[in-house]
């Protein structure tokens, strides 16, 4: 199939590479030309603009950082919208606000272009291995067209609902995950302050009801004091901005999420936005006993 891919960062590069290896033709564009080189070597064709990508492809994937980036790539000067033929599909796998995803879908629908919001969980590791969890929002028939491609990228695919529903699920994912990271960080902090080996505590917890993937992965990063990014904390910070805006708009109290959001603000203030979110432990260490 003729595909397009825009956004070749930590997530996009391995995802586009997997689609190539599965035998698809992939046209690519990235803001930084340097990001194109590894894909071109792997067989992708480089385009001069998102519009050119859309002209060449039946289905185009995007995975960029901010909602404003998605808008610019789709509706900006020489954006995807300028190249899409009616009936083509945009699959946006970025994490953006549900309301914005619905808005973009509606604007594309006016041109006869379909859209799925399909954010993912699983990080760079999951993108390389093709084991991402994909949460999709949009029309079921459109999703069926894209399903074989999703199978190349991820291990689980859930059709959550209509446009925007995938982003709602992703927002929920981020709330649960980062709150869990904060809980693990606080437990590790308590253990250390009480004079107990945090790694032993972590191992003890892993066998019981507090056991979780977050305890396993992020807990170990904390006890090894390895704060190099798996997922950059600034991205979780960005996502918490989205979640808390949604809560505001709906008049919904999310007290624990709001508290965790403040810990993320403090993390950013320490200059650790480019480090792993396990750095929430280091935020806690800024207060209380040495």
């Amino acid at each position: 199939m003729k595909l397009g891919f825009v956004g070749l960062g930590t997530m996009g590069r391995p995802m586009a590479t997997r689609l190539l290896r599965a035998g698809h033709e992939v046209a690519v564009w990235a803001r930084r030309p340097a990001a194109l080189a590894p894909l071109v070597e792997a067989g992708a064709s480089a385009c001069a603009s998102p519009a050119a990508v859309a002209r060449d492809a039946e289905i185009v994937f995007t995975i960029v950082t901010y909602g404003s980036d998605v808008e610019a790539v789709v509706f900006g000067d020489r954006g995807l919208a300028a190249g899409f033929a009616p009936g083509s599909v945009l699959v946006d796998m970025s994490t953006i606000a549900p309301g914005l995803a619905r808005d973009i879908a509606a604007r594309l629908a006016e041109r006869g272009v379909h859209m799925l919001d399909a954010p993912v969980s699983g990080g760079g590791v999951g993108a390389e291995a093709g084991t991402l969890a994909i949460m999709a929002g949009g029309d079921a028939a459109v999703l069926e067209r894209v399903r074989p491609l999703f199978a190349v990228l991820g291990k689980t695919l859930v059709h959550v609902g209509g446009n925007g529903a995938g982003q709602v699920a992703k927002a929920c994912n981020q709330m649960v995950m980062v709150a869990a990271i904060e809980a693990v960080a606080e437990a590790m902090r308590l253990a250390a302050a009480a004079g107990v080996d945090p790694e032993k505590v972590r191992q003890a917890l892993a066998g019981g009801s507090a056991g979780s993937r977050v305890l396993e992965v992020f807990g170990e990063r904390m006890t090894r004091r390895d704060f190099a990014a798996g997922v950059e904390a600034r991205l979780h910070h960005k996502d918490f901005g989205i979640v808390l805006q949604e809560a505001h708009a709906m008049g919904l109290p999310l007290p624990a999420t709001a508290a965790v959001g403040q810990q993320l603000n403090a993390l950013m203030a320490q200059g650790w936005g480019g480090c792993d979110t396990a750095s929430l432990l280091r935020v806690l260490e800024r207060g209380g006993p040495d």
Binding site: F240, G241, H248, A259, G261, Q263, N265
Partner: protein, 291 residues
């Protein structure tokens, strides 16, 4: 001085009336024509658009709901910028995000208009009595030109700094008042559930370091269970959202304000948005099984 006033709601109407009482010539405009009637009866002229008003005055003041409204009134079609005379000072007294105020100031300056952000504290009562606190951001010259108007509407008028500084001060004000209302409501709930008379507790606290205007005024209204606004919960929720969005953008940890903002979310979501912000007391009582 010839002054224009745009936006004649709960706050704008009494503020405009105080400008008339102060002896200024006034030209008013409001989106709903019927809002202009009480001002016209009191001696104000009416304008057909913000641009029309701006072309007839030395200082124009807006008092509207949110940042998009301010941008529309100042820079939209038939906005202030479209009709301004050279030397016009434009003042916005709405509460909006500091970054939005700075952006509007820059765009107004590009059109040769001095812009002052001057949000207020003191509510409808202060607006009627002309005793508002006014916190202004903008150039010293523009502030000086608008000062006679401010003096008719407020008692505590402070030039905080450059463009946006007034809104920063207002955001700080909303942190202190939002958490203040929460603190008083929590204390009175605590007293009630722990078996002490909340009225007596309030009276005892008034003599010590916990004394504050909020304990005095809001505390009394909580005891009277008078939840009429005042200052509506949804507006405080909006203002706390400005605070929290600014904190997010700045990388600033505000744990207390964040917790308070969630309670205000809950108020709006539970249908208490139109009541005074002291209705947070009702929410606390409900959550603690005191109702």
């Amino acid at each position: 001085m010839k002054i224009g006033f745009l936006g004649l709601g709960i706050m704008g109407r009494p503020m405009a009336l105080n400008l008339l009482k102060g002896g200024h010539e006034l030209v008013v405009w409001a989106r709903r024509a019927e809002s202009m009637a009480p001002l016209a009866d009191a001696g104000a002229q009416t304008g057909s658009s913000p641009a029309d008003v701006a072309g007839r005055v030395d200082v124009v003041i807006s008092m509207v709901a949110d940042a998009p409204d301010v941008a529309e009134v100042m820079l939209g079609d038939n906005g202030v910028a479209a009709g301004a005379r050279p030397g016009l000072v434009a003042v916005d007294m709405s509460t909006i995000a500091p970054a939005a105020a700075q952006d509007i100031a820059v765009r107004m300056r590009e059109k040769g208009i001095d812009f002052v952000d001057a949000p207020v504290s003191g509510g409808e009562v202060g607006a009627i009595a002309g005793t508002l606190s006014i916190m202004a951001g903008g150039s010293a010259e523009a502030f000086a030109r608008a000062k006679p108007a401010f003096d008719c509407m407020g008692r505590n008028v402070v030039h905080v700094g450059d463009a946006g500084a007034g809104q920063v001060a207002k955001a700080c004000n909303q942190i202190v008042t939002g958490m203040g209302v929460m603190a008083v409501a929590e204390a009175l709930c605590f007293a009630q559930k722990a078996g002490a008379d909340p009225a007596k507790v309030r009276e005892a606290l008034l003599g010590g370091f916990a004394n504050s205007k909020i304990l005095e005024n809001h505390g009394q209204r909580m005891l009277d269970r008078n939840f009429k606004p005042g200052f509506k919960s949804w507006m405080h929720q909006k203002d706390l959202n400005i605070v929290m969005q600014s904190a997010h953008a700045l990388g600033l940890m505000l744990p207390g304000a964040a917790a308070t903002a969630q309670m205000f979310n809950a108020m709006v979501g539970s249908g208490l948005g139109e009541e005074d912000s002291i209705a947070v007391l009702k929410l606390l009582e409900k959550l603690s099984g005191q109702q």
